[in-house]
Point group: C2
Chain length 75, copies 2
DNA sequence: CACCATTTGTTCGTATGTATG
DNA sequence: GCATACATACGAACAAATGGT
């Protein structure tokens, strides 16, 4: 899991794309838990808000659902 | 234009609601320019990112369109 | 019940990049 | 070049919800 800060594609979109592919490939199937924000921060080196933004992209696409205090899950 | 930090409704949703009503009431009609982020920051006392978040809500609702370097306009 | 760890939610202040006129 | 306006990102702090001890 790696994002390129020098890319023309902003990091939050790169991360969204990474997660999207993991979902569409079936690596993360329906109902599966998406890695936590904290974990994704550590894995990618991105800030919390940036990770959240990536997740919000997936939420707006209907790919995942988020529940406060619980986690993020593949729809 | 006023947001209440003690409200259960987060400021970014309060601002989104304020702008939504100004659009739906016709005070801001189609094609009209939405006040700039800087202006809304000064008017509401909110931070830049918070104002942007409110606008993103309206964008996701299709009420406004944003053009970088130009401005935000009622759809 | 209280307490705590985990996880998501919101906001702030700041900095820098990009686009338009 | 400059001013304005939006775009992205960082780091920090605290709130709220959940689940387990």
């Amino acid at each position: 899991m790696h994002v390129d800060h020098d890319s023309a594609v902003p990091p939050y979109l790169q991360l969204a794309e990474i997660l999207r592919k993991r979902i569409e490939s079936g690596e993360l199937s329906s109902g599966a838990r998406v890695p936590s924000i904290t974990y994704l921060m550590q894995e990618t080196g991105l800030a919390r808000n940036t990770v959240r933004r990536a997740i919000e992209v997936l939420v707006s696409e209907g790919l995942v659902t988020v529940r406060q205090g619980w986690g993020t899950f593949v729809a």
